[in-house]
């Protein structure tokens, strides 16, 4: 089905220099000169910055004066400025879809230093765009209503902040948290750097706000199971896991916890340093307050005996038969704030965690210095009694290390310095050694805190630790942990015997972040962090409309940055809700019904269930509102009668022919 362009094309071609970004590699004048000779091209120009208002004026004036009806700009990625130039076309009275962009920056100038090759490729891309734009059709954006409800996934400080911002603005929020309580990692921390605020004291009021807010539906101990739909109209299915405690009856008195006879190591909230009961609340200020039964360890669930919690519960709230519940609701936007996992320090066996008793991880130490933690805030060795007289704190464990994570985890320097301060505060006679590569203290009051810790007498030794060993060589080393390190400031190997070692483990992406990214159709980088729409200018949006990210799920960051991102994501969502309706790209599939054979192949392939089959006339039809323009059905249709608007066969084939102009030239050249 080769369609002829409807009107005689009068094309304007604009080649952007982008300063020297493009012009440094591509001979832009030559490309413009050459483009001017292509069929249908009325005017071809090169200009320093096409995206500037002067550049846009150039397009607008040409449209008006030279009666242009098609525009091609060869510049950067359409992700950057397609919108800009479509706007310029529209201002001059041209349907914005009569515009096509050729990416000669990311796909060409930045990819090579070879000027000849780059200029050659620029020509190919420009001819492809010129050929394609001839077949463009006028299109109108599709208005979409935005459901004012929002889903926030993750109840750490990022999710809490986002949820409260939206709820306070008057919008309803569903906050889904995987563990039994909201609070996230921040709830585990003792003090926050550099102000040494009590972490729980500043967090728990916010948690209470979330729990009591009339605009927040809190779904703790729950996980999102399915996400369907698109910006403005998502349908969410959440699995609310069985707590085996009836929330309507439970008063949160805690008698069940007290009476439960079985204790297990708490590897979650207490980071493995303490114990919890099998029916438990992660911590006293948990929100919601209802306990949960750990069925894997519960004597009743494993052996059918015990029932202590049920016997003692004054309100008969224990329900061993409770089952998971699936809840479905509608939202317009989604904020993902799923947080991070701590690097598993056992992956570096030469540092001894898991082998040598008095090697601790940073999170263990946070729990240890916390007054509400397993030792009541006393700094002691693994025996639970002996106070260390010397403590080594090893920075960058798992971070800045090609064997594990090449990136810097950003928070470890500061919390390691905080640890040094806390040890000196609690045990004034103890020696503290911080082993660092570089001290990274970029933040308000951070450098000052570093100086304060130095003045308090912590020893800072610059060098990556080779190993922590209990193999004593000299008499002074017997019974100690020896930190072997090259002190790069004095250029010597040193062996420093200490009583306790703290490994400042880095931040890594959640183990299941790839699955989560798939569930919400987001991008996920090599390290497992979610990819933002633009690293500088759009750090909370994702490539999927209506899905936003905040906090450490996007990359390592400290609490202030996390809070800022949570609030920023909320502001973006509030903006969309306030608009009420947004215009979506009209890139949708449609079926030429008179040619459809009714084979139904497309019906099952559509990932959005956007194709219906009309039994009466044996034809399929695309529901435009549900179609996401992915193109699966277009490719699959055996009769070739499904078209993707703005991606029609005519357009694509014309573009391919243009891109391969040199091949055609060679084939037809007389030999």
């Amino acid at each position: 089905m080769q369609h002829k362009p409807q009107e005689k094309p009068r094309i304007g071609v604009y080649i952007c220099h982008c300063g020297t970004n493009i012009a440094g590699t591509v001979d832009v004048e030559e490309v413009a000169r050459w483009a001017g000779e292509l069929e249908g091209v009325v005017v071809a120009r090169d200009y320093k910055f096409m995206c500037s208002s002067l550049g846009q004026d150039l397009i607008e004036n040409d449209i008006k004066e030279k009666k242009l009806n098609r525009i091609v700009v060869a510049a950067c990625s359409p992700l950057m400025h397609e919108k800009t130039f479509r706007g310029a076309c529209q201002k001059a009275g041209l349907n914005p879809y009569f515009f096509e962009m050729a990416n000669i920056r990311e796909h060409d100038a930045w990819a090579t230093d070879d000027k000849t090759a780059a200029t050659f490729k620029a020509k190919a891309l420009v001819e492809g765009a010129v050929n394609r734009v001839k077949f463009h059709m006028p299109l109108e954006p599709i208005p979409v209503d935005i459901n004012p409800n929002t889903l926030v996934v993750g109840g750490g400080i990022a999710g809490i902040t986002a949820a409260l911002e939206l709820a306070n603005a008057g919008y309803h929020v569903y906050l889904v948290e995987r563990s039994p309580s909201i609070g996230g990692h921040m709830a585990q921390l003792d003090k926050t750097f550099p102000t040494l605020d009590c972490s729980a004291c500043i967090l728990t009021p916010k948690m209470v706000d979330v729990g009591q807010h009339e605009n927040i539906t809190l779904l703790a101990y729950s996980e999102v199971e399915a996400v369907e739909g698109y910006l403005g109209n998502f349908t969410i299915t959440v699995r609310k896991k069985a707590r085996h405690v009836n929330e309507d009856l439970c008063t949160g008195c805690g008698i069940c916890i007290e009476k439960c006879p079985r204790k297990v190591i708490d590897t979650e909230f207490e980071a493995g340093l303490g114990y919890r009961k099998v029916i438990y609340r992660p911590f006293p200020q948990a929100v919601p307050k209802y306990p949960v039964i750990d069925t894997e360890n519960c004597t009743f669930f494993q052996r059918g005996k015990c029932r202590a919690c049920q016997i003692f519960c004054p309100t008969k709230a224990i329900d061993f038969d409770q089952e998971d519940e699936l809840i479905t609701f509608q939202v317009g936007n989604i904020i993902i704030a799923t947080g991070y996992d701590l690097f598993d320090a056992r992956r570096i066996p030469q540092y001894g965690y898991g082998r040598l008793a008095n090697v601790f991880t940073s999170l263990e130490f946070e729990r240890m210095v916390n007054a509400a933690g397993p030792t009541g805030g006393r700094i002691v060795l693994r025996d639970g009694v002996t106070e260390p007289r010397s403590v080594a704190i090893i920075h960058c464990v798992g971070s800045r290390d090609k064997n594990y994570h090449e990136y810097c985890s950003k928070i470890c320097c500061m919390y390691s310095l905080k640890f040094a301060h806390l040890v000196r505060e609690r045990l004034p006679d103890a020696e503290v050694y911080n082993f660092y590569i570089d001290i990274r203290a970029p933040g308000k009051g951070y450098e000052e805190f570093y100086h304060r810790v130095l003045h308090e007498g912590a020893h800072l030794i610059r060098g990556r630790v080779a190993e922590v060993t209990d193999a004593a060589r000299e008499p002074g080393e017997e019974g100690k942990l020896i930190v072997q390190v090259e002190d790069t400031l004095i250029g010597k190997q040193r062996r420093i015997p200490v009583d306790m070692v703290i490994l400042s483990a880095g931040i890594e992406a959640r183990k299941d972040s790839k699955e989560v990214a798939q569930l919400f159709k987001m991008g996920c980088d090599f390290d497992g962090f979610f990819v933002e729409r633009h690293p500088k200018l759009d750090p909370v949006a994702t490539m999927t409309e209506g899905v936003f990210i905040a906090g450490c799920a996007q990359g390592p960051k400290d609490i202030p940055d996390t809070v800022a991102q949570g609030a920023a994501a909320a502001a973006r969502v509030a903006g969309l809700i306030h608009q009420g309706t947004v215009l979506m790209e009209p890139v949708r599939a449609y079926i030429h019904e008179d040619l459809c054979s009714g084979c139904r192949i497309c019906n099952n392939l559509c990932p959005y269930n956007a194709i219906v089959f009309h039994e009466d006339r044996q034809k399929s039809e695309v529901i435009t509102a549900l179609c996401q323009g992915c193109g699966t059905c277009v490719a699959a249709c055996p009769s070739g009668v499904i078209s993707g608007a703005h991606f029609t066969n005519d357009q694509i084939f014309a573009q391919i022919e243009g891109v391969l102009w040199d091949v055609r030239a060679k084939a037809t050249a007389p030999s």
Binding site: G272, R346, A471, R473
Partner: protein
């Protein structure tokens, strides 16, 4: 498991490490590992030659690789196994750098051509005997062959410095502190200590040029094993075995210590567990006689003897994290 390996014993196994050779053959036969000696192989150059003249050293090693390549492989993948850590390192190093540098490969092949030989980098997969047993044979197969478990014998797993580093083929997840030999010895029923210096240097040929340095390095290894009450140190390398065993008396004299720790090859320990008599696997050839400690091997696992009293938790003590083992073998 490949059905056949080219076997490169190396010079040590012909003489001072004869025990390693015969125990290797014993274990290989028990486990069904087919070893075929490389014909007319020569010395690997040991640790010194590369420091003196690199190109001849590479050519010397490459000759062995070329001979292995030239064996009849029936079109299958070529595997070469060396029990000696220094031989293993030199063979894999030569293969690695010839693949890395076409220039070096050309020079080496020019030298080999004089003898009518040629080596294509990457043509032969070089193994240490340890990774053949751990990854190709597997712990399960080893465990099946155990007829006399080594219950009660406390062993220090000593890898030495050449096997897991630099690990050209990336088969070790923890090159700095490996666990595969630990797990292998545990599969034999032995009690394996967390030997903190498991990848430290034995001194190598320092015994010849700087004896004080070598003796101090050997002392550290012996002391750590003694501190952990090990009955024996299990080695993977004739050099390590020789230094720890042959120089033990000198260490004692030099430092006024009194170590009596026999040094056994891991194949000897496996042989014992497979039911070999000490003589069959060369036990008795070592300076520090290993036979007395063999009496410590018991019929039953140590815990069972004590009527499994459940250890009560120390009320005050903080829980210990569980140990993580991540050796997943060759990728």
């Amino acid at each position: 498991m490949p059905n056949r390996y080219a076997y490169y014993p190396g010079c040590s196994l012909e003489k001072n490490a004869r025990a390693y050779h015969i125990s290797t053959l014993y274990v290989a036969e028990k486990l069904g590992v087919a070893l075929e000696e490389v014909p007319d192989w020569n010395c690997c150059g040991a640790t010194e030659y590369f420091a003196i003249a690199a190109l001849p050293a590479y050519a010397l090693v490459a000759r062995n690789l070329a001979l292995a390549q030239g064996m009849d492989w029936n079109g299958g993948q070529r595997h070469l196994v060396a029990p000696c850590s220094a031989c293993f390192l030199n063979l894999s190093k030569t293969d690695h750098y010839m693949a890395d540098s076409p220039q070096l490969a050309a020079q080496v092949n020019e030298a080999l051509a004089a003898g009518g030989l040629h080596y294509d980098p990457g043509a032969v997969f070089v193994h240490h005997l340890l990774d053949v047993i751990v990854d190709d044979v597997g712990y399960e197969k080893v465990q099946e062959m155990v007829t006399k478990p080594l219950f009660g014998l406390r062993v220090a797993p000593y890898y030495g410095c050449l096997v897991t580093r630099p690990d050209y083929k990336h088969i070790h997840n923890e090159p700095e502190h490996p666990f595969c030999l630990d797990d292998l010895l545990a599969a034999l029923g032995a009690t394996v200590i967390d030997y903190p210096v498991k990848t430290a240097c034995c001194g190598g040929h320092m015994t010849q040029i700087s004896e004080d340095t070598a003796l101090e390095l050997i002392r550290r290894l012996l002391k750590a094993a003694a501190d952990y009450r090990a009955d024996a140190i299990v080695a993977l390398c004739p050099m390590c075995q020789l230094n720890l065993d042959g120089y033990q008396a000198q260490v004692n004299k030099h430092f006024g210590t009194d170590y009596h720790i026999p040094i056994l090859y891991f194949t000897q320990v496996m042989g014992l567990a497979f039911g070999a008599t000490p003589e069959e696997i060369g036990i008795g050839k070592e300076f520090v006689d290993a036979r007395p400690v063999l009496n410590k091997i018991q019929e039953k696992p140590p815990e069972e003897g004590k009527k499994r009293r459940k250890k009560r938790r120390d009320k005050q003590a903080l829980p210990m994290p569980e140990l993580l083992r991540t050796h997943t073998g060759r990728k």
